[in-house]
């Protein structure tokens, strides 16, 4: 949790050593005014050109001579006034020159730790560190730290969050990781070629601009639609390939490790018992190959992919490690809605399915692109039953299961009687499901 503006003196018992970020940080901040100028020039090229033509060499030089030191000063001051400290219970980040802001991030509430390295940061040998706690945002990341420092800090934070004694937490060091899965680049490329979205955006990018040209004969209209379309096509194919390149899932006593990226590297650590839902996605074109994509939800974390592509058996083995004691129900185990549900959702009603095991609530939906969502009973926040007038006529109802990652898993089109029983049983299961769940401090 972050509580900006709380005075340290109130909480400070013993002196804690405060640290500063890596000295290259000001350079990143100094870019801000330049980036604003470039953004303006790109956004409005006509205007920019006219303004540039008016400028003489001397005014340009004067402007630069003012702008660069101001930017440098801004960068330096914002770096100078940013401190962070690790105490027994929290990570404290103090920042701000005029408006002071102190974020207290409670380690026991930790959901995940991300260490990310954008391309330039990799060249400079620095990394960003972000603690995922519900309510933290972009401002609460530590950017930048030295590469080795970031790793050491991550290990220390995880050790403290895990419940190691404060004196030893510093020396515990990085927990050894065991690789569970590694996606070969060829595999990833092939999976993207077989994805409909890749071809859809590419086709749109190739077809729409020429059509517009014949219709309007205006270069600007064509550019204004063609460039974003090409961008979308690139993002859904090349962008995804670059982002999901060398995807590695590992297991360590600190929890799940997810490393990926070709240019920007991201290393995410999800401690045990933080995964709220797991989704197994199976597009139609992958089904023949037996490939699936696995997505996960962790409260407060932005990453949602666990495995970009893998054969079904391997993916299920990974899911079994992520959610201990869970076996993914097979298609045969999923109970279909009654036949009369076809009056509510024609054709697609066959895609729905539900299975409840001792450990998870599993609901499937989608006919062509099948999605099976798994929620451990311990992660259920509330259970809801909903029924509209048309559904009541056909005696079916939907059961919604809400999780802490703000995701709702729905079992639609269940028989009304069955749904009412499911509601009661699920509430009971989610209540008792906590008993054998791991403690928040997983090593304590």
């Amino acid at each position: 949790m972050t509580t900006p503006g709380v005075d340290d003196a109130v909480l400070g018992k013993e002196p804690v050593t405060e640290r500063r970020l890596h000295p290259v940080t000001p350079l990143r901040r100094a870019w801000a005014p330049v980036a604003v100028l470039i953004g303006w020039a790109v956004h409005d090229p006509d205007q920019a050109q006219r303004q540039l033509a008016r400028l003489t060499a001397t005014t340009l030089l004067i402007a630069l001579a003012v702008l660069v030191p101001v930017a440098a000063l801004y960068g330096f001051l914002s770096w100078w006034y940013t401190h962070f400290a690790v105490t027994d219970t929290e990570l404290r980040i103090r920042t701000g020159l005029l408006f002071r802001r102190t974020a207290h991030i409670r380690l026991e509430r930790l959901q995940a730790v991300d260490v990310t390295q954008p391309l330039l940061a990799r060249v400079a040998g620095v990394a960003k560190l972000k603690l995922d706690v519900i309510g933290t945002d972009k401002k609460d990341e530590l950017a930048f730290l030295g590469e080795r420092e970031a790793r050491a800090l991550r290990a220390e934070l995880l050790a403290r969050a895990a419940g190691f004694a404060p004196e030893t937490a510093h020396e515990v060091g990085e927990a050894p990781a065991r690789v569970l899965l590694r996606t070969p680049p060829l595999h990833l490329a092939l999976s993207l070629v077989l994805t409909g979205a890749t071809w859809g955006t590419l086709a749109a990018a190739l077809v729409v601009p020429p059509v517009l040209w014949f219709a309007t004969h205006s270069v600007w209209t064509v550019l204004a639609t063609g460039v974003p379309l090409l961008g979308a096509a690139g993002a859904s194919s090349v962008g995804r390939f670059v982002g999901e390149y060398d995807w590695m899932v590992g297991e360590s006593p600190d929890g799940l490790r997810i490393d990926h990226g070709l240019l920007d590297r991201t290393h995410e650590t999800v401690p045990p018992g933080r995964v709220q839902t797991v989704r197994i996605v199976e597009p139609l074109s992958w089904r023949r190959l037996g490939w699936v994509r696995v997505e996960l939800d962790v409260a407060g974390s932005s990453n949602s992919v666990l495995v970009p592509v893998a054969p079904r058996e391997i993916a299920e083995a990974v899911v079994a490690r992520v959610l201990p004691g869970v076996t993914v129900p097979s298609a045969a185990d999923l109970a279909r809605p009654p036949r009369r549900a076809g009056w509510c959702v024609p054709l697609w009603w066959r895609g729905y399915g539900l299975a409840v095991t001792d450990a998870v609530f599993a609901a499937r939906h989608g006919l062509l692109r099948r999605r099976l969502s798994l929620v451990p009973h311990a992660k259920v926040q509330s259970v809801r039953l909903a029924q509209g007038p048309w559904e009541r006529l056909w005696r079916v109802a939907a059961v919604h299961v809400d999780t802490g990652a703000n995701k709702t898993v729905t079992a639609r089109l269940r028989d009304a009687q069955e749904a009412a029983e499911l509601l009661r049983a699920q509430a009971e299961r989610s209540r008792t499901g906590r008993r054998d769940a791991l403690p928040d401090r997983w090593m304590a």
């Binding site: 992660k379 926040q381 809801r384 809400d402 989610s430 209540r431 008792t432």
Partner: protein, 170 residues
């Protein structure tokens, strides 16, 4: 963190028995109907006067439309009010509502993050208060509108107390 408190672990059987449902006070219905009559009555009056003066008295008959809407709303509010009910069970709160679009919600006490009691000026005049439960999931929409303030406070205290005893993290 353990969900169930120790004294409760043995007696989970009582949750399976039929819960004791409670409805909402009649004052809530009275307040909603009054608001309906005041607003739609004002609209009907304004419409009738405006059309009667600017056009002809025949056109003023359009003002009957809000009045018909009022009659319909009167019945609808009654049905909706009757459909609302809640029950406190040993380990969770049940909430049931809706006539055409029925919805039933179960919130285990251990998952409650925050209990909120609100009361607007009109609600206060009628001696009413709303209780809203928040869990870590934003989709959990558990609001009990228009309770007796004393009952709302009792519910809030009981829910907080039970929530503390059975609390669990995410």
């Amino acid at each position: 963190m353990e969900t169930g408190s120790p004294r409760n672990t043995g007696t989970t059987g009582d949750t399976t028995t039929e819960p004791v449902w409670r409805g909402l006070p009649r004052r809530l219905l009275r307040m909603r109907r009054l608001l309906l009559v005041v607003w739609l009555g004002a609209i009907a009056l304004a419409l009738g006067l405006l059309l009667g003066v600017l056009a002809s008295p025949v056109w003023a008959a359009i003002a009957l439309l809000p009045l018909a809407l009022m009659a319909w709303g009167w019945v609808l509010l009654g049905r909706n009010w009757r459909s609302w009910r809640y029950a406190e069970r040993a380990d969770d709160l049940l909430l049931s509502r809706g006539v055409l679009w029925r919805e039933e919600t179960v919130v285990p006490y251990g998952r409650m993050q925050l209990v909120e009691v609100t009361s607007g000026p009109v609600e206060r005049h009628f001696g009413l208060a709303s209780v809203q439960l928040h869990t870590a999931a934003a989709a959990t929409d558990a609001t009990i509108p228009g309770l007796d303030p004393a009952e709302a406070e009792r519910l809030r205290d009981r829910l907080t107390e039970l929530g503390e005893a059975r609390s669990a993290g995410l």
